[in-house]
């Protein structure tokens, strides 16, 4: 069986894809990868569909072994990664052979790291998806000894390359989250909304795939008549104020309805930055109009579509090359134009 063996694993690693759409009316939120951008980056590096499932590793990875030769990619929060002891470049794609040991350690910065496999993880689909949804008890965190089926490659052989990498802007150190007003924003005084955007927050200890607690100095951000609000629909990105006016940013695995009022909704394209903020990172909010929010989101979606062409060949540092002598360093037998890693999207360009 084409599979990935889990020899050791951190406490909060789960299979994630784009989540499940169409079940809000049944009380099941979409769920899916916490850092959706990382999912797209991995797919771009492997030249495959972004809907394929990957392994999401919160804070800590594990030790893995493949049963067959496979392509992998590493994205999201950078973690120490080695293959049989040799370091692997993060935000890069690599090849692993059966019996080689892939070891992924703790996150150096950020929270969620991702391990993608050529063909994607092929665990059974339930309700149209493979995502573990912890809140709904749909699936569970991975455990030592698990054997994860891996799908057959769907990428044409000519494009089934490794040795690509992506330059990734820092979204792992906090920063600005843009939000739009939502249907309950006017329950909060304008002065409270303004103060919310002037306040620096740090992630609290109560962080999960469901919600991110936001800690700040000074008084809370209470709404008028806070406890009398009828339970209403929740969308990912909503910033909810609990009874004492302390904010929680609700994420893709949040409950589908709730009675606490929400001051606004963070743009979907900024949620990756939010979930990757580790303890100590500072997050700030900035109000944008609906029109500006739509423009920013559309720009992000367009950038996602360009990710495959942003991948470039991984240049190895000769100092790290144990097998330097096996490379042909002179002679120009292969022209630069025929570089097998040349990242072009035209079919056949890589042959």
């Amino acid at each position: 069986m084409r599979a990935l063996r889990v020899l050791r694993i951190g406490p909060s690693c789960t299979v994630q894809d784009g989540g499940r759409v169409g079940y809000i009316g049944q009380g099941l939120s979409q769920g899916g990868a916490a850092d959706r951008l990382a999912l797209a980056e991995g797919a771009a590096l492997l030249r495959q569909d972004a809907g394929l499932a990957a392994l999401e590793m919160a804070g800590m990875g594990g030790l893995f072994e493949a049963t067959e030769p496979m392509r992998i990619a590493l994205t999201g929060a950078e973690m120490q990664a080695t293959l049989d002891g040799a370091p692997l470049v993060w935000n890069g794609s690599h090849r692993i052979e059966p019996g080689q040991r892939l070891e992924i350690g703790a996150a150096r910065r950020g929270v969620y790291g991702y391990l993608h496999l050529g063909g994607g993880l092929a665990t059974p689909q339930r309700l149209g998806g493979r995502s573990t949804h912890l809140v709904a008890a749909l699936g569970a965190p991975l455990a030592e000894g698990d054997i994860l089926p891996v799908g057959e490659e769907t990428t044409p052989a000519a494009r089934r390359v490794t040795g690509l990498c992506l330059d990734v802007a820092d979204r792992f150190s906090g920063g600005e989250l843009r939000l739009v007003e939502s249907f309950q924003s006017d329950l909060f005084d304008p002065a409270v909304r303004r103060r919310f955007a002037e306040t620096p927050f740090t992630p609290g200890r109560r962080a999960s795939r469901m919600a991110l607690q936001l800690m700040s100095e000074g008084e809370g951000f209470a709404a008028a008549g806070q406890l009398n609000v009828l339970s209403e629909i929740i969308v990912p990105g909503d910033v909810q104020m609990t009874g004492d006016g302390r904010p929680f940013l609700l994420l893709r695995e949040a409950q589908t309805t709730g009675g606490y009022p929400r001051i606004g909704t963070v743009l979907p394209c900024d949620l990756s930055r939010a979930v990757q903020a580790a303890a100590g990172a500072v997050l700030r909010f900035r109000w944008v109009s609906l029109a500006e929010g739509l423009v920013q989101q559309a720009a992000h979606d367009a950038a996602l579509a360009r990710l495959p062409s942003a991948c470039r060949p991984l240049l190895r540092d000769p100092a790290d090359m144990a097998d330097l002598l096996s490379y042909q360093l002179i002679g120009g037998v292969v022209s630069a134009a025929a570089d097998p890693f040349e990242p072009r999207d035209e079919p056949g360009a890589e042959t």
């Binding site: 079940y23 009316g25 099941l28 809140v135 939502s182 249907f183 979907p268």
Partner: protein, 250 residues
């Protein structure tokens, strides 16, 4: 709660970047809830290209859409037009509803907050069991957790507040009560509502052909049984804790 410039219903508002909410009131009542169920069905029937999914909450209909395909102005206009077509508060309940009679233990260590809730409602424990056990409640909406219903509406004396302290965990099938409603838990969960009854219902079964047991509009009655009978049903593996399901005749 009345605020200055209170809005008039129905009301169409934006939800984040790609959602719209049609609200029929800010209080829960029978007509408001019927309006949400009927209006959601009508939005689904429109089959607008760009609508991703719809849902109801207690008093509103939520529409999730792709603004790149269906701009806000166009969806807003379509929903406003649809609102004009009839008095939604007069709409009948949906077809194909079912009536569930659910064996329920009230009080005991299985549902330890019955006495507290009865006290807040000004009733003896026995009177509370008689009332709650005779009440025929409706699935007002499904939400919070998969397949989990809000059920109502109970009499006015059951307008009891949520607890100030959250109960760390109630089990699957727990029947909890606050603000004239029951919630029946589909997953083990913390709650601020009071745990008054325990059922053997499993409302979300991801492996089943139909993973969600209840539909909005279904009616339920939580019929009192003794602990011994409840445990017997559990031990014999009676489907859905021995619940009896029939069609509601319109």
């Amino acid at each position: 709660m009345s605020r200055e410039g209170s809005p008039t219903y129905p009301l169409i508002r934006n939800v984040g970047l790609s959602g719209m909410l049609v609200s029929f009131g800010d209080q829960l009542d029978e007509a408001t809830n019927r309006a949400t169920l009927a209006f959601r069905g009508a939005v689904d029937d429109l089959a607008l290209s760009g609508v991703v999914e719809t849902a109801t909450s207690l008093a509103s209909v939520f529409v999730r859409f792709d603004p790149a395909e269906l701009p806000h102005e166009r969806l807003h206009a379509a929903l406003a037009d649809l609102l004009q077509t009839r008095d939604w508060r007069e709409a009948p309940l949906p077809q194909g509803r079912r009536f569930w009679r659910v064996p329920t233990v009230y009080g005991t260590e299985l549902a330890p907050q019955l006495a507290e809730a009865a006290d807040l409602a000004g009733l003896s424990e026995q009177a509370a069991i008689d009332e709650l056990g005779a009440a025929r409640v409706r699935v007002l909406t499904i939400g919070f957790a998969p397949g989990q219903p809000y059920l109502g509406t109970l009499g006015e004396h059951w307008d009891i507040p949520r607890q100030s302290e959250v109960t760390p965990q109630v089990p699957v099938g727990a029947l909890v009560l606050a603000i004239r409603q029951f919630v029946l838990f589909s997953t083990a969960s913390p709650t601020g509502w009071r745990h008054v009854g325990q059922t053997g219902l499993t409302l979300f079964q991801p492996e089943a052909a139909d993973p969600f047991a209840l539909r909005a509009g279904d009616e339920l009655q939580f019929e009192p049984v003794g602990t011994a009978e409840f445990l017997r049903l559990r031990e014999t593996g009676a489907p859905q804790g021995g619940a009896i399901v029939s069609e509601v005749s319109a």
